[in-house]
Symmetry: C2
Subunit: 479 residues, 2 copies
């Protein structure tokens, strides 16, 4: 893979003045908030995409918005690239630094500022982890809905940058649907407050624009998010099918009939086997594809919705229906699903795609995905958020074999093009990062990309915020 990953050319003026820049930045931050020695910089050299490593020039770990602002103001004045970083769990290389960049990490901005249960909001520093909000809110019967599989580690700031999703976003929406306000630092150090505890304000929806902008419009330092009341009960149910196509058309039929469960997760046979071996979740091993459908509400509500779903599943030839009988069993089912990427990583190198398709295309795209991977002599495991049409084919390959790595990359490209051509898009929740920036031309026209880059320039004229990401390298204006 690595030969395909390129960065914008480092700015010589920055590299040549490294010592001076380090000394200046050291003056702006407490010692424990500034990292500049090589051995301490190494943990910041990549993220969960791991296809590329480069040690950054320095790392700032501000504790306050004012500190973040001071660093950005300095970098802006001298044209030093800035790479924002949450927990480094990005699957698209969104947090991978470059050698002339100052990384601004969120790890020391981890204070929960306010839990306002009366208004159902939580206000947190951007380095707070996703799960810790639900942990704290849980005592009062609330939770924060978006739940990426990395939720134990990933930060709200990173979630906002990538507009992260998760298994339960089918009912509750992704980050943008649960974000009420942010405090953010613009590239020149100006601090903006956008949104708040109220409904949509007047003026332009900068909040929506910032969510998913991959750190290119500024760095979010605080966020206000919506809390949701925990349902009375929740029950994951396993539906086993002979084939992926049957499972796929069943999903389309459930959603097409207007039923919105909390989650509909899909696993094909390889994914079932990998996850079961790792997590002992109790998945049936005699089926070709599995849906985890979670319903919630009162016992009566869950029963009523399940009756409708089971009737639809029978039309699609469901082989096994297993309701979970206990909270422990439910936890095991979700642990199996959420550990899918890690479990896969134990047995093989893989790249994870994140294309999204209209549900009517789900069965077709699954079938074509198999054909693409087969034709290149590779294997694939599919485990994904089927209710949203957000597919995650994990393409398995041997990273020590350059030829196989190239084939895996080719398979990924073909699959993402397939998703776009089927009326879908390149990414559902993992962002573009460096992974998909060259495919953006397949999704967007020149007019589309130019307009997006014009918006970017309205925030960062000098193109120093996370500069090598999202847009094709040759598309950006010269600096």
């Amino acid at each position: 893979m690595s030969q395909a990953i390129e960065f914008l050319k480092p700015r010589l003026s920055v590299l040549e003045n490294r010592a001076r820049i380090v000394a200046d930045l050291a003056d702006l931050l407490p010692p424990e908030c500034f990292v500049h020695e090589l051995r301490e910089l190494v943990p910041f050299e990549t993220d969960a995409f791991v296809s590329y490593r480069k040690v950054p020039l320095a790392v700032a770990l501000p504790k306050t918005t004012a500190q973040a602002s001071a660093v950005m103001k300095y970098c802006h004045r001298y044209g030093i690239p800035i790479v924002p970083r949450g927990a480094g769990t990005s699957l698209s290389g969104g947090a991978i630094p470059q050698e002339d960049a100052v990384v601004i990490g969120l790890s020391k901005m981890a204070q929960i500022l306010e839990m306002d249960f009366f208004n159902r909001t939580a206000t947190v520093q951007a380095g707070v982890t996703n799960l810790s909000i639900s942990d704290v809110a849980g005592s009062q019967g609330f939770f924060y809905a978006p739940d990426p599989s990395s939720q134990l580690a990933c930060t709200i700031g990173g979630n906002i940058g990538m507009n992260s999703g998760g298994a339960h976003c089918l009912k509750y929406g992704v980050t943008t649907n649960n974000l009420l306000g942010v405090k953010m630092v613009l590239v020149d150090g100006t601090v903006l407050e956008i949104g708040g505890k109220h409904l949509d304000a007047g003026g332009y929806d900068l909040l929506g624009l910032v969510c998913g902008s991959e750190g290119q419009l500024g760095i979010v330092t605080e966020a206000t998010v919506r809390l949701i009341a925990k349902p009375e009960g929740a029950r994951p149910v396993l539906f086993g099918f002979e084939t992926s196509e049957e499972a796929g058309s069943c999903v389309a039929d459930i959603i097409g009939s207007g039923i919105i469960p909390v989650a509909i997760e899909f696993m094909d046979k390889p994914a079932i086997e990998i996850c079961e071996a790792f997590a002992k979740a109790g998945y049936p091993l005699d089926v070709g594809a599995l849906l985890i459908v979670e319903v919630e509400g009162s016992e009566d509500e869950m029963d009523a919705m399940l009756t409708d779903i089971v009737a639809i599943a029978r039309k699609h030839g469901v082989k096994t229906v297993r309701e979970c009988q206990s909270a422990m069993e439910a936890a095991a089912i979700w642990k199996g699903r959420k550990s899918a990427f890690g479990a896969t990583g134990r047995i093989s190198d893989y790249i994870c795609m994140d294309g999204t398709v209209p549900l009517s295309q789900l069965s077709y795209v699954l079938k074509k995905t198999s054909e693409i991977v087969d034709s290149l002599g590779l294997r694939v495991a599919n485990v994904f958020h089927a209710g949203d049409g957000n597919m995650h084919p994990l393409i398995l390959f041997n990273a020590n074999d350059p030829e196989e790595a190239a084939k895996a990359e080719e398979a990924g490209n073909q699959i993402l093009r397939l998703c776009v051509d089927a009326g879908g898009c390149l990414t559902g929740e993992h962002g573009v990062g460096i992974e998909k920036r060259d495919l953006m031309r397949h999704q967007y026209s020149d007019a589309d990309l130019n307009q997006q880059m014009a918006v970017r320039a309205a925030f960062d004229e000098d193109w120093i915020l996370n500069p090598s990401k999202v847009f094709p390298l040759d598309g950006r204006p010269a600096t």
Copy 2:
């Protein structure tokens, strides 16, 4: 009011070349799509804000995106202001033209292009009315959720421009939460397609940015929206209280406990009397404030939710609880609510505010609103989307008395400042338009406004799209 309404200075170069411009535009459009004679231009001189009238230079009513593009390309070349117009139902003056502007109206783009029940989407031309989508979708058991009171007339394009809401947005969200994609024409005639039938795409969220941008970033000509399955049943229930404060704190407590009904609408005593006299909705007249709470689902689900809501209402001293007994009664209850503005207009001139506050501030803001209006010797009727905290005080006054009109405007300003100071914002669903542009400074810092205007300039450098709206007139860059 009218003395307060100013527009940017007309461009002399445009006014002086009127005849030439009309002749050129006539070449770009079929005769039935172009309006330029004074008597035909008069219907376009204002919108539902009605505080200002100005006959535009000409009106284009394109049937196709290509025609809209040709007109915009022409106007852009010669620096002619463009004012987009849906059905002209804007309550904030968003569609009021100026004398040097070409209005581009959506009324002839009224085709429903595709109802895709399988993917639960509708794709329509932007001039399709809000209600007609639900009318067509209803045959298959679906509907389009946002429901402004003007839904019989207002267009999807106008709804997108203002990010419109409605009574049922408490559960289903406002326009931005139900919009999947648009085709839009940029100021120079370039056509962009943003979003589609899939989940959030990669790149920046231009779709969210465009929604609520009041026609200043381009003109939407087609939209793809989400359809939602109709619930099994729905039941509005009337809760009567002695005082507005009790009703307000009851709303906060319902939402604060995590219950989200489909709608919680609030009416104070003046609003109840006005609506009942007009619509004979069967509202109780012996109460000081009324909540219309709508629940939906199966009979069991509705019963369960209502039991919880009634228990909370009792804690707040509810005096009357009346469940509606028939579909006809339900229709009458909603007709009364939705005709509130029209019914008020029959008995008095009024201006309608649209501030939004965190629910914990609802009772306080209601009380302060009364005090403000009393202190100016005016009357107020409150009828609004309480569950969202989206308040609509209708300030009653005599428009023929300039002193009273000035007092009404002053009351409105004080109330909106109150909403902002209480942690809320200037507008929930009616947009900024010309009505609230000068109050934007109370909501936003200079840095906020500058950033919004920089984004605007990334779409419309010459500031010709709906130029006198949203931003304070003295804030914009010189042209």
